[in-house]
């Protein structure tokens, strides 16, 4: 088999002592970078890229790739422990991750997210190994019409997030959409709500808003509830933390979740630009509509954490496909990797894997090893991270503010973003207090601009006709899948529930 000889060749390149050192170093740095709120994989990679100048390309690309997926592992830890997503791909992980920690299941949640990340990442690499050429075709069938439909699909999650208090949920989403329109209009170049400020040309960045609303908002709310007066634990119900390892139930109930969402995450990740964020959101809402207990989602359901985690890691592997097969970066992180390739005088494109087999297969082989290394690192590091929540809240509280503030600042060295983060924290507190949905706001902020830009691009291309959405095969597929998610699954679920009820009645 060609693939296996290629892979073995790749392994022989990856397993040299110095390359293994780079791999482990990258994985560890990635974890640390991922844990810091504000530092996602892309910011971490950009900052650490200069480190690799002067290294040989194979070692350097292994190091960078390890930082990339290492940050994907680390990013969830603060989402679970502090309700502070480090980047947009881990927002969905807060929905059930933080409630799990609150219920005293921080240990199992962290272990399950590491395992989910491992499964997602590894399935992703296996799919790259076996099916890279096939998925290259998927990544090249997406244009603006498809992106618009994808964004709409992502918004299905919004409906879930809006929750019981639908009027406040809608207002939250509208605030997110409104913030998303700030900045220079992509199509006309006209400034919208920038009021002449250079800082606002590029729009309102997602990270300070997410960190403020989720992290600081939750913190202020915890102080409002007086949780810092309860000695240890505070926000997280540490006293109930009876076991570190997940239960048998956790494993069994999430088996299929991991299987489904590694594939889903990978396929979405392959689409350039859609990436890990949409993958994790779609995974969350799909899992919720498949679940027999959708009412538990958002209250600490393990599947609700495992689904987005598997998906975002699988997606980060998937994003390698357009990079390796077309030379198109599918995400901000792979864009930095592309810049690195260009720096070394490489030309990523359809001929890249043929012309540079050592580099390409060395990288792929290193991703298998890297995922194993990260699972091991995570298992050892998790007990350390669990210690965080044992710190008394009156000390942890002010410290979290420091880390959030400096993390936010360091990404773009912007005081404006720092102030936006603090302002979002205060608004987040009132939103939490009065029953608004911070999650809906943040999702709207991510998806709104995507949907608006893609729709306007589509209508420019089609000269105003909506028929374009049914003329392109890829669009038709997305419409069919969306319809299935919206109509078929809840229907099947209801029938399934009825059947169960009937069974119960029969039995009783």
């Amino acid at each position: 088999m060609d693939i296996f000889s290629d892979l073995i060749m790749g392994l022989s390149i990856a397993i040299t002592p110095i390359n293994l050192v780079y791999l482990l170093l990258g994985a560890a740095i990635g974890m640390i970078v991922g844990v810091i709120p504000g530092f996602g994989p892309s910011a971490g990679l950009a900052i650490l890229l200069p480190m690799t100048f002067g290294m040989d390309p194979i070692g350097a690309i292994m190091l960078l790739a390890a930082i990339y997926y290492g940050a994907m592992y680390g990013g969830t830890i603060t989402s679970i422990l502090l309700n502070t997503p480090g980047e947009s791909a881990t927002v969905a992980s807060t929905f059930d991750g933080f409630p799990l920690a609150k219920n005293g299941r921080a240990g199992p949640a962290l272990v399950m997210q590491a395992v989910a990340s491992f499964v997602g990442g590894t399935v992703g690499v296996i799919l790259i190994t076996l099916l890279a050429p096939m998925f290259a075709q998927v990544s090249r069938s997406f244009g603006p019409p498809e992106y618009f439909l994808l964004a709409l699909m992502g918004m299905l999650t919004l409906i879930v997030m809006i929750g019981e208090n639908w009027r406040l949920g809608i207002i939250s989403a509208l605030i997110g959409f409104a913030l998303g329109t700030v900045g220079v209009d992509l199509e006309t170049g006209q400034g919208r709500y920038t009021f002449g400020s250079a800082e606002l040309i590029g729009g309102i960045y997602f990270i300070p808003i997410a960190i403020g609303l989720f992290g600081l908002g939750e913190l202020f709310y915890a102080f409002y509830q007086g949780l810092h007066r309860f000695g240890t634990g505070g926000i997280v119900n540490y006293e109930n933390e009876d076991r570190f390892w997940p239960t048998r139930m956790d494993w069994i109930s999430t088996r299929m979740t991991m299987a489904r969402n590694s594939v889903l995450g990978f396929v979405v990740g392959v689409i350039p630009g859609a990436g890990a964020t949409i993958a994790s959101l779609m995974a969350y809402s799909t899992e919720r509509s498949l679940s027999k207990t959708p009412e538990n989602f958002g209250k600490g359901e393990m599947a609700g954490l495992v689904a987005p985690e598997t998906a975002n890691n699988a997606a980060s592997s998937g994003a390698m496909i357009p990079l390796l097969t077309l030379g198109i970066p599918g995400s901000a992180s792979t864009a930095v990797l592309l810049a690195a390739f260009l720096l070394w005088g490489l030309r990523p494109g359809p001929l890249f894997m043929e012309q540079n087999p050592e580099l390409a297969w060395g990288l792929i082989a290193s991703m298998y090893l890297g995922n194993m290394a990260l699972l091991t690192i995570s298992i050892f590091a998790i007990p350390l991270f669990v210690q965080i929540i044992k710190v008394p809240y009156r000390i942890l509280g002010p410290t979290v503010i420091v880390v959030c503030a400096l993390g936010t600042f360091s990404v773009n060295a912007s005081f404006i973003e720092l102030y936006i983060m603090f302002a979002a924290g205060i608004v987040g507190f009132f939103m939490r207090l009065y029953g608004f949905s911070a999650a809906a706001l943040v999702l709207a902020l991510v998806l709104g601009p995507l949907a608006e830009e893609a729709l306007r691009q589509t209508l420019t291309i089609s000269r105003g006709s909506f028929m374009i959405f049914v003329e392109r095969p890829a669009s038709v597929w997305i419409i069919l899948v969306t319809l299935m998610l919206v109509v078929m699954l809840p229907l099947l679920n209801r029938i399934g529930k009825k059947a169960q009820m009937v069974k119960k009645l029969d039995a009783g």
Binding site: Q190, G273, L342, P348, G349, A413, I416, Q457
Partner: protein, 330 residues
């Protein structure tokens, strides 16, 4: 009154000299010439964007060359002062008025950001050292398109308007095809994208008819025949693009490109400007610089001193008139 951070040993003398305006005008440059560049002063290199971007890589390439060939005697400290599409970093440099130990590299935003926001500075305000290279664009169509060359493209576009993708509107990506279309006499719909990756995907998916972009990122696709280059906007076609004609070759030269150059703060002594011009002449002759130009597919257009200021002014005016005509800016 401007705050100057000059070597302390001649501060008292300049205070004395300030009493007679005539004396300072003559003596200060002379003194600066003797002192510049002083090894006691750290060169404060502002990079107006984050690490890993085009501007960052160019600045660090120049610094590496300066260090390798011992061209700068003192220490160099490079700081990424990112924010506001360059407004923060170049605003900082603007604030170093008269200080010959502040320096920065420019890129496209150096022209576009002042057009979009109320920056206190304009590109012509700074002391120009040199234009070192320009970012030029290539017009490409999908590899399976029936259009084989630029003449066919223009003929088709005249028959039925096409859509052309590019990155952003207040950007050279919009200006270049607009001016080209005006000269060649066709109309088109511009589709604006957030990044090169988005527009390339859209072109490969068949949604776009054509797009413009920096050749560097899509050379792999061009080599593989997935994209077909039609025309190049620079003065000479890079080797990697083979026999693609330039816009000038086909008779519609537009003369607009993104300046990558080197600037000092406003009102820097002429001696410092001269020193840097001399030094950059050495830098652009090094093999490392040639490699940088080649690997980033830049056009090596070199203009020194005041000519660079004129170039910046022209580029800005060109941008302004096109953008005003479409209503992007007021």
């Amino acid at each position: 009154m401007t705050i100057q951070f000059e070597p302390t040993h001649w501060l008292p003398s300049s205070t004395v000299a300030a009493l007679s305006a005539c004396a300072i005008a003559l003596s200060a440059p002379v003194m600066a010439q003797e002192a510049y560049p002083s090894t006691d002063e750290t060169l404060d290199w502002t990079i107006a964007f984050g690490p890993g971007g085009g501007n960052d890589i160019m600045a660090r390439t120049i610094i590496d060359i300066l260090t390798k060939y011992d061209l700068y005697p003192g220490d160099v400290s490079a700081e990424n002062r990112a924010g506001g599409s360059g407004a923060v970093g170049w605003g900082y440099l603007y604030g170093q008025d008269g200080d010959p130990y502040g320096i920065s590299t420019t890129s496209g935003s150096f022209v576009t950001t002042p057009l979009q926001a109320d920056t206190p500075w304009q590109p012509e305000d700074f002391t120009p050292v040199a234009l070192l290279a320009t970012d030029d664009l290539v017009l490409v169509v999908n590899g399976d398109s029936e259009i084989q060359n630029i003449d066919e493209f223009i003929a088709m576009a005249k028959a039925e308007p096409m859509n052309i993708g590019g990155t952003g509107t207040v950007n050279v990506d919009f200006i270049v095809p607009t001016l080209f279309a005006e000269k060649a006499g066709f109309e088109f719909d511009y589709v604006s994208f957030n990044s090169m990756a988005d527009q390339t995907t859209a072109l490969l998916s068949g949604a776009l008819d054509a797009m413009v972009g920096n050749p560097g990122e899509i050379l792999g696709l061009i080599d593989a025949g997935e994209l077909r280059p039609l025309v190049f906007s620079g003065q000479s076609t890079p080797d990697a693009l083979g026999d693609t004609p330039t816009m000038g070759d086909v008779g519609f030269d537009i003369g607009v490109s993104m300046p990558r150059g080197l600037i000092l703060p406003p009102n820097v002594p002429e001696a410092a400007q001269e020193w840097w011009i001399g030094t950059m002449q050495k830098v652009v002759d090094t093999p490392e610089w040639a490699e940088y130009i080649a690997s980033n597919t830049l056009t090596p257009t070199v203009i020194y001193g005041e000519d660079f200021r004129t170039f910046l002014g022209q580029t800005k005016t060109n941008f302004e008139s096109v953008l005003k005509s479409v209503g992007a800016i007021e």
